[in-house]
Point group: C2
Chain length 378, copies 2
């Protein structure tokens, strides 16, 4: 029988690591990129095509799923994997980030966050205990602790208070998860470091989490508008404050060059809506930077987005055709562009893993950055 | 080398025929259903999945394609087949129906129809000659003659005049097609019978078309709101007025039970947006009638749409999941529902061909109708 959760580091290169997380539903190759399947679907993608892109694990959103179709309903239907046709690992977030960004009339207390649904106005509460229960009902493989977020522009006092509350909630998340019976026997729990851009707060948060003990550690509270330079500033020290033997997950990141820089700083896992969302609006990622396929210069461009890409879009269709589909608002445009972007991200992760394995990460990263210029991010 | 156009009837059963049309880009098994690929895409479907459903041929819309991306552009890009990634036969309509139903400020004359684009207001003219030119530029395998449509509720005088003009346009279409050089060597041209619900006009139209000579004959001017009974009334005699050795195509039809009744009356080819359009709005076809997957009774229904269907939706997903996707407005809902409906239609065509081949069409059709009750067309 496969282990519950075993992280093996196969190679290191500077601060970067290449490894494998073994879980009952399958292996996760790290550094890993997790496509986002918000509402029990990676938007515009069949699960088999998500897998074909190279994804080992998806992310599901607790906030969205608890509102629609509802965690209890998903449980009655046999869990999220069976429901959405993805039998490999799924990581679920705690709902903490999205309840603060999407819900209405939110009210925070030591207990948790009370709110009204943005879909129908219904009243709900997410607490650390309820978040653990929802993620258990969904059948999540990697459960995230419930935490409190405040803007990086808040005062240090507010940041400190939020971080300290998040650590108390991390303790309650640990207890709630451990009380989950069979689910806790097969799943993993990650803690989330907070502390915004403050090294001291980050250090205190890391120590508190390590004292509780988790299967992995996320760097939280970044990619919220602070910019790449400030983010890399935190990543210069934050991963080193966490347990080196456990996976480190940078939540909500990011652009391809964000990922490359974060891997160089010791991050093992990523998730982001960028490849899927961009695909639906006409942006395609290439090694020469993103292109906006709606641009008139692609109207009669017979080349594929990228000649050596293995996705359906690049194997069978021209930029001219994708330009037409996206301009005409055709669903197939969203499908093909999304698939390309997911293939692009997974190939980047495979390239990073190979470069680490062969001790040439700096060469790869420098060459990637030189090629990758955002020449058309419109 | 494959023939330009060879229709072989393998079996007959009453008025119904099962056969094969051999063309350079592949064989078309009849009775055939042609999915509609309006804007160079069968909406929400990859071409490989359209083929997997059993489709031998697609329909493309001249009106849409001439406006976006433009027939000359498609020609510069190598033709419609290469552009949209479908190497099998494509039938294109003449633009006559859609210019009257979609364009703005249309003005008819003996020359053709002048109009403004519904997309950008640009001015255009479609004449028989221009329709033939557009279909040639697209690289159509089966070209439709350009005809004039009037409502079935118009006076007999108006009907007669429109039918007679359509026959003059059919002659001009034949000449325009034949002047198409290489394209005419490889493609086929169909004439379109008009005459609304009037047997005498239908007869005169059929005679005029046969005197010109076409590779196949369409029954036009039906499925425009007259109802199944009136349509079947025309189909009781119209196919018999056409050349029995050539394929007969009923344009724009239809519901599954329309198709069954039309096949019994001697029709060989069909096209309709119903399976694709319905898929995007949540209607799924089943042998027990259509169901609206948004209905609350499917919220926890773990069965697939149809247990013995080979489509991606039925092999991997429950009605409960599709209910969730469609309610949440997810693109994957449109993708899976569309795929199911195309598989349903193609299986119906395969069942009809088999029943004709085995001389049991009446038994099959009666049993199909008994099962198929529109219990939830909401």
């Amino acid at each position: 029988m496969a282990p519950r959760f075993a992280f093996t580091i196969h190679a290191t290169d500077g601060k970067a690591r290449a490894g494998t997380i073994a879980m009952r539903r399958g292996e996760i190759r790290t550094p890993a990129f997790m496509p986002v399947g918000t509402a029990a679907t990676v938007k515009a993608m069949k699960p088999a095509d998500v897998r074909a892109s190279g994804a080992d694990i998806l992310l599901g959103n607790t906030y969205h799923l608890m509102l629609r179709p509802g965690a209890e309903r998903v449980a009655r239907l046999g869990g999220l994997h069976s429901f959405m046709g993805w039998e490999r690992p799924i990581l679920t977030d705690s709902g903490g980030y999205q309840v603060m960004s999407l819900a209405e009339l939110t009210k925070r207390s030591e207990e948790g966050v009370a709110f009204r649904s943005h879909l129908d106005g219904s009243r709900h509460l997410i607490s650390p205990e309820r978040s653990m229960e929802i993620q258990r009902l969904l059948g999540s493989d990697i459960v995230m602790a419930f935490d409190e977020l405040v803007p990086t522009t808040a005062t240090r006092e507010v940041q400190a208070a939020a971080m300290e509350r998040s650590m108390r909630w991390a303790q309650r998340s640990r207890a709630g998860f451990d009380a989950g019976g069979d689910h806790a026997e097969g799943a993993a729990l990650f803690g989330i470091q907070q502390g915004a851009l403050d090294e001291g707060l980050r250090h205190a948060s890391a120590d508190a989490l390590k004292a509780i003990g988790f299967d992995g550690y996320a760097v939280g509270g970044l990619a919220v508008g602070e910019g790449q330079e400030a983010m890399f500033g935190v990543l210069d020290y934050a991963p080193g404050q966490l347990d080196a033997a456990k996976p480190r997950y940078l939540m909500g990141v990011g652009k391809p060059d964000d990922i490359v820089g974060a891997v160089e700083r010791g991050i093992d896992m990523f998730d982001c809506v960028l490849p899927t969302r961009s695909g639906r609006t006409g942006q395609a990622f290439t090694r020469h930077g993103p292109i906006n396929i709606r641009n008139a210069r692609f109207a009669e461009d017979q080349a594929p987005i990228e000649a050596d890409c293995a996705c359906t879009a690049c194997r069978g269709f021209s930029r001219a055709y994708l330009h037409h589909l996206v301009r005409a608002g055709e669903i197939l445009g969203a499908m093909l562009m999304t698939e390309h972007n997911l293939f692009f991200y997974q190939r980047l992760m495979a390239d990073l893993r190979a470069a680490i394995g062969e001790g040439r990460l700096k060469t790869f990263a420098d060459s990637f950055r030189a090629l990758y210029a955002e020449r058309d991010a419109s």
